[in-house]
């Protein structure tokens, strides 16, 4: 069955996915709002940057993050001058990488939900003298709830399923950067197929349940 190191990898994976999802909801909301509302010429470019992780192989992201966050890279120079050291091989580094990697999976559903609301409810709220914050809190957020649910589930699940990026910047350190996907890879490489099966089958079951919950609570036909 599952060993202590397997459990520690599972715990770490859920910690990483939770922190990442929370950060993404905070960071993703203004980005999604801007993308949904703006008429700026930059909309296309920013939207494309947000969507990049969908099409880029994780190895590309991992490699560039390793170089950029390393002691000689621009991000690494910045973190060092702030006294934070360098990010690769740390939990914080994995969080930064995961936020970037899962960004489109959170921004896009929220953006779609914002766009679906349209101008009308906002105008009505404005005529009722609601402040922008009030409008956002009492009108936009409730209307965008299905988008937020999708974003939360996909952001979390996608981070749990991350492998290539973590492999390249994690360094496989127990309790710090050794997540479930890396642990499975190690088991397979070491020909410990029985242990690999326990974890791998667990991942399949987990992913299925998560998506099942999402599609049951949020059937696409009812989204509008």
């Amino acid at each position: 069955m599952l060993s202590d190191t397997d459990w520690s990898a599972i715990r770490l994976t859920f910690e990483l996915a939770s922190v990442t999802t929370l950060l993404l909801l905070v960071i993703g909301t203004p980005i999604a709002w801007w993308l949904a509302r703006t008429r700026s010429a930059w909309k296309g470019a920013i939207g494309a940057v947000v969507a990049l992780p969908i099409v880029l192989p994780p190895t590309v992201i991992g490699f560039y993050l390793l170089v950029a966050m390393g002691p000689n890279g621009p991000v690494g120079q910045l973190t060092q001058s702030l006294g934070l050291g360098v990010l690769p091989f740390t939990f914080a580094g994995l969080v930064v990488a995961s936020v970037f990697y899962s960004l489109p999976f959170v921004v896009q559903p929220i953006q779609n939900a914002f766009e679906a609301i349209g101008e009308r409810p906002l105008e009505v709220a404005a005529t009722l003298r609601a402040s922008p914050f009030d409008t956002f809190y009492s009108v936009v957020l409730p209307l965008a709830r299905p988008g937020y649910l999708t974003a939360t589930v996909l952001g979390f699940a996608h981070t749990v399923g991350e492998f290539g990026v973590v492999l390249m910047i994690g360094g496989n350190i127990p309790d710090k950067t050794r997540v479930v996907s890396v642990q499975i890879y190690d088991h397979v490489e070491a020909m410990e197929y029985a242990q690999a099966h326990w974890l791998a089958a667990g991942m399949v079951a987990f992913s299925f349940v998560v998506l099942l919950v999402l599609y049951t609570l949020n059937p696409t036909g009812r989204r509008k």
Binding site: G70, L167, G171, N172, I173, Y185, E189, A190
Partner: protein
């Protein structure tokens, strides 16, 4: 009436007959640490025999799993001597075709010049944040690194600073990008023509760990492939051995 051959056709025919064997291809799985020398050897091999060696580089453990599951490799140049033996025992390799093509040398390396001293005392001082090693569970060079550290009595003090690469190529990458100040890599990755390419290094004495014997084996699929047999002969030739040595392998 006799048909006359055109001169061009005749010369082509003669050329064709002059080549003793028809040029063939052999699919070779090569351990990551042997990448650089094997690229050179494959080019020389093609020049000398007309056969082509198609190379795939990666971790020996992964190749083992792939071969067991029907990967189309005809030859394996492993990073250890256990995997080829296991494949032979399992009937996936041609029995009696195993031979040692190189003996790996372990090096402690930093991308920074002057960081690693000629005796490896830098390990004892411990003034670093990350020490990269290949996963000792998967990679022979990683296992040799752990064995050497154990002999030196330093394992306990540096273990907390380990960052692990899945194979020796990734370990090299961690050190080469400066993310780990130093790490245990294969000497073959950092020398060319007997010279250190960059940074600073200590060649770990082979007395500190059991020899990293790297064996090659012909796989069942390559049994009747003349190119596989030719590559085995070529790897054992003086020319190939000279190349292997120039990349920092003992032999």
């Amino acid at each position: 009436m006799k048909t006359r051959l055109s001169p061009l056709f005749a010369s082509l025919l003669v050329l064709g007959l002059a080549t003793p064997l028809r040029a063939a291809e052999v699919q070779v799985a090569v351990a990551a640490n042997f990448t650089a020398p094997m690229q050179k050897i494959a080019a020389d091999f093609e020049k000398a025999t007309g056969h082509q060696a198609k190379l795939a580089f990666g971790a020996t453990g992964k190749f083992y799993a792939q071969i067991r599951n029907g990967a189309p490799f005809e030859m394996l140049l492993a990073a250890d001597d256990e995997t080829p033996a296991k494949l032979e025992k399992e009937g996936l390799a041609v029995s009696g075709s195993r031979f040692t093509y190189s003996i790996g040398q372990l090096a402690l390396w930093s991308a920074k010049p002057g960081y690693v001293d000629a005796r490896g005392a830098v390990l004892k001082q411990g003034a670093f944040n990350h020490l990269a090693i290949a996963n000792p569970k998967l990679a022979p060079y990683g296992a040799a690194a752990v064995e050497s550290l154990t002999r030196l009595g330093l394992l306990g003090s540096v273990e907390g600073k380990f960052v692990q690469g899945e194979n020796i190529a990734q370990t090299y990458q961690f050190v080469s990008t400066g993310n780990a100040e130093l790490g245990f890599v294969a000497l073959s990755q950092i020398v060319e023509n007997g010279k250190l390419k960059r940074g600073s290094a200590w060649i770990v004495p082979s007395s500190l760990h059991s020899p990293i014997r790297q064996d090659a084996v012909v796989l069942t699929l390559g049994k009747d492939n003349p190119a596989a047999a030719a590559l085995v002969r070529f790897l054992k030739s003086d020319a190939a051995r000279a190349v292997i040595k120039s990349y920092g392998y003992a032999l």
